[in-house]
């Protein structure tokens, strides 16, 4: 871990002792696994100075189907002033997954969360306009889930010939 990175993790652990579940390093990236309910507090704490993680680089979801907490939300934060990257992960249950929305903190979270809702079905509480982004209205199902077959097509207009 880089020098600045250690200090950030230390401060996080001091401020939220019971919310941080695990801290690890994998292939040179720093990963922090947190509790689902404390996401908004931790993220607001990191955004302020001195840590200054001003940019949300990416927000995505992974489907570990078969495990108890099926969905894992992954957030990549970046600090321009100290040139540090941090990955925050949290687990959601498979039945009706939902989590706080980050649209009040960063503006690009709007479309990123719509993409996750479209592809995985995770609901974001507090999102102003949660609606499908890539797929069209009327599409049933969430394509990137592991139980959605790759080739299941739902045509919008009738096709001229059988495949």
């Amino acid at each position: 871990m880089a020098m600045g990175q250690e200090k950030v993790i230390e401060d996080l652990k001091n401020k939220f002792p019971e919310k941080i579940k695990d801290v690890s390093v994998r292939f040179g990236d720093d990963i922090v696994i947190i509790d689902r309910d404390s996401l908004l507090d931790i993220v607001k704490f990191l955004k302020e100075k001195p840590h200054d993680f001003a940019m949300l680089l990416d927000l995505t979801c992974v489907d570990y189907s078969g495990q108890k907490d099926r969905f894992e939300m992954v957030y990549h934060l970046f600090s321009l002033s100290s040139n540090l990257r941090l990955r925050i992960k949290t687990r959601l249950s498979g039945k009706d997954p939902s989590i706080d929305s980050l649209t009040s903190v960063w503006k690009n979270a709007n479309w990123l969360e719509r993409e996750v809702y479209d592809m995985f079905g995770v609901r974001f509480e507090g999102h102003p306009y949660l609606r499908r982004l890539f797929m069209y209205d009327g599409f049933e199902g969430h394509p990137l889930r592991k139980d959605y077959p790759l080739r299941k097509r739902q045509p919008r207009i009738p096709m001229r010939k059988e495949e």
Binding site: Y136, P143, Y148, P149, Q154, R156, I157, M159, K161, E163
Partner: protein
């Protein structure tokens, strides 16, 4: 009796008198050298289309220089790139809005058959939606392939029959 039968059995090029065949060729000649194209560009093949239309491999010398970005004014629909399920009604609407005579060219592997994308989101070939005249394979096709295909389309336009214009009305 036998003479009439033999005449009926002989199939061949467009039947008719000397004047109507000359008129057919003239209409075909006029149409093929002034095709107004509507490039329905979606994806990567658009880059190759752009370089065919520009100075290096000029499309204008074949009479297809004018891109008309309105279906009402175009007579050739050039479907360039992948067509997804979300885009399919749009393509059908644009095709329906074009007036006769119209020709469709499927440009690139994705438009011909879905290309490398065999999944939930991509239409496996635009001939599932609209009838196609010329298919251009390639991912993306080389400019020489595109020019060859457009010349073949021109030959097809030249050979079209116009008997319905001067045939006897029944």
């Amino acid at each position: 009796m036998g003479k009439v039968n033999r005449q009926k059995k002989r199939a061949g090029p467009v039947r008719g008198g000397f004047i109507t065949t000359r008129l057919n060729s003239m209409i075909g000649w006029g149409r093929k050298y002034s095709l107004f194209q509507y490039p329905f560009i979606t994806a990567c093949c658009g880059m190759e289309y752009m370089s065919v239309a520009c100075a290096h491999y000029d499309l204008d010398r074949f009479g297809m220089g004018w891109t008309r970005f309105s279906p009402r004014q175009a007579d050739m629909l050039l479907v360039v790139g992948t067509i997804t399920q979300k885009e399919a009604p749009v393509l059908k609407t644009v095709y329906d809005q074009m007036t006769e005579p119209k020709w469709v060219v499927a440009f690139g592997a994705c438009a011909v058959s879905g290309g490398i994308y065999d999944n939930y989101a991509v239409v496996q070939g635009i001939d599932n939606i609209i009838p196609v005249d010329v298919y251009i394979p390639g991912c993306p096709p080389r400019p020489e392939t595109i020019l060859d295909a457009l010349i073949k389309l021109q030959q097809k336009v030249q050979k079209e029959g116009h008997e319905w214009r001067w045939g006897k009305k029944k």
